[in-house]
Symmetry: C2
Subunit: 312 residues, 2 copies
């Protein structure tokens, strides 16, 4: 492999493709330009044509730059499958298992996902989030020592246990997907509102945080009952639903048998506002000390480490 001054990063998930043209900086990569395209689910397997089209103007200017990709594109429903790497594993080693191939003159590297299957009691997977975990590890020396729980909210919340620089365990909650389905297509919400009523959100989060989540499938109907009885306005219903779901997600992490929160050296939220703020609000109800980091920072930091390991 040859060192390159510039590189293209592609976060190609199920619902969206995000591409970054980057230049090698002193410490890490620097974003020069960005582009977007259709996700894997909408690509109809025209992966090469889509990629070529999305990065065409960068190619015209800089030629055939190397491309590093992560996310759903490496799954068995994607372009070239990059088989999962098993926990416990260091995120740099994950990158070392990248699958490489040539497409339209570009050298393409697909970073594999991580699989957690050390016993039959706990099986789980992630793809794409390993970049952020790696990025977070690069941010401070103390991150590579001790036990840390990283929470990455999104369509699926990924809870990642990191110990002495290794990914130990992944746990997924389909909180975001449930929220989309229930707010768009259920009887619970007639009129979705994107404005969050903080008080209503916290009230609902407290409910599922405090009660055994055995009450969860029963509790959801409360979104409708409270509207029928005039205790919740239709536009507050979305906030209430969001609170119930995120409260339930955080409670499950508090009650998890796979880790003890009081044994952790830190609890970290990685993502974008306002979603991260909702998780932060919920964690603070239980007095959990949490640090929030923007996922653009962990993304670039993670890819910078991969760039050094794989391409330099």
């Amino acid at each position: 492999m040859t060192a390159a001054d510039k590189v293209i990063l592609v976060d190609w998930g199920a619902s969206c493709l995000r591409a970054y043209l980057c230049r090698q900086g002193q410490q890490r990569l620097q974003i020069l330009d960005t582009a977007v395209g259709p996700g894997v689910a909408k690509a109809e397997r025209q992966f090469e044509a889509i990629l070529t089209s999305v990065i065409a103007h960068w190619r015209a200017e800089y030629g055939c730059l190397p491309v590093m990709m992560s996310g759903h594109i490496g799954s068995n429903l994607g372009w070239h499958e990059a088989p999962y790497v098993y926990c416990p594993v260091s995120p740099v080693d994950v990158a070392g298992h990248s699958v490489s191939f040539s497409a339209g003159g570009h050298r393409v590297y697909v970073i594999p996902g991580v699989c957690c299957a050390d016993d039959s009691q706990h099986l789980d997977v992630m793809r794409g989030e390993e970049i952020h975990v790696l990025g977070w590890l690069q941010l401070a020396q103390e991150h590579t020592k001790g036990k840390h729980l990283l929470c990455l909210p999104g369509t699926h919340t990924k809870w990642v246990l990191v110990e002495d620089g290794l990914i130990r365990m992944v746990k997924t909650a389909i909180t975001g997907e449930l929220f989309e389905l229930l707010s768009e297509r259920s009887v619970l919400v007639q009129q979705r509102s994107d404005e969050i009523d903080q008080q209503v959100f916290s009230m609902a989060a407290r409910l599922t945080l405090e009660s055994e989540n055995g009450q969860f499938v029963h509790g959801l109907f409360g979104v409708r009952t409270l509207q029928i009885l005039g205790k919740l306005t239709p536009w507050q219903a979305t906030s209430y639903l969001s609170g119930l779901l995120i409260g339930s997600d955080v409670r499950a992490a508090i009650m998890a048998q796979e880790w003890q929160l009081d044994e952790l050296d830190s609890l970290v939220l990685i993502g974008r506002r306002p979603l991260c703020e909702l998780f932060e609000t919920t964690m603070k109800i239980k007095n959990l000390p949490v640090v929030c980091i923007d996922d653009q920072e962990t993304c670039i930091s993670g890819y910078s480490a991969i760039y050094r390991a794989v391409l330099s």
Copy 2:
């Protein structure tokens, strides 16, 4: 009111209208004919036109028979609102609060739903299920004494606590609606199968029955993980999802603070196969002694009692 030899019953829910032409028998009503039509959600508020069209042939033969209706049609999204009657209440008294009006020459009675709002900790509602509760009460003298928990599975599972012939409490779980959304529109199931794999169903039901349901939002992703790791075939995924959801619903009833299962005189399932069988299988994993009754029987039995009370 005048006694009538024949009557039309209409179970008009959100998704479907089911009409029955009945004749007064010695003990109870007997079904002579049935008809179906669009539910309230699809009716575009053309309620009178739909009803008249659905029962047109009965009218041609027998004239303007009285019509008794229950379900979503009596809600604030329906035709004529029949305000909820509050728990604790006897189901016959619920029928006594029916709203009556004239439509196309027919006398129409809308049976109200039941609302449970005796304290701020527990609010819930049902519409339509009160007919089945009344019907079950009619089936045996001992049903009107002691404490019984009735489970009515469907789009929403209704758990109804009946004590000494009164409806004490209603609890709703949106299990069926979650199943529809997650099996049709989520990443969990790619190819829905209507054939249940009993072993896979029971394995999943056991999981949510045995673990705190705090694990529920985390556990759901298992439907996908197990397929990725080759431990579940795509056509088994539906059974697995169904097991997780019904297990979670039953566990919440077992853990409910509103009743103690060991203080009940009976636990009763009212509904149709195969859905009731899945709930029965799940309850039997926990050795719960349960009796199953077909909801057509409770429906006719309930309406017979209302017919005697309201129309005779």
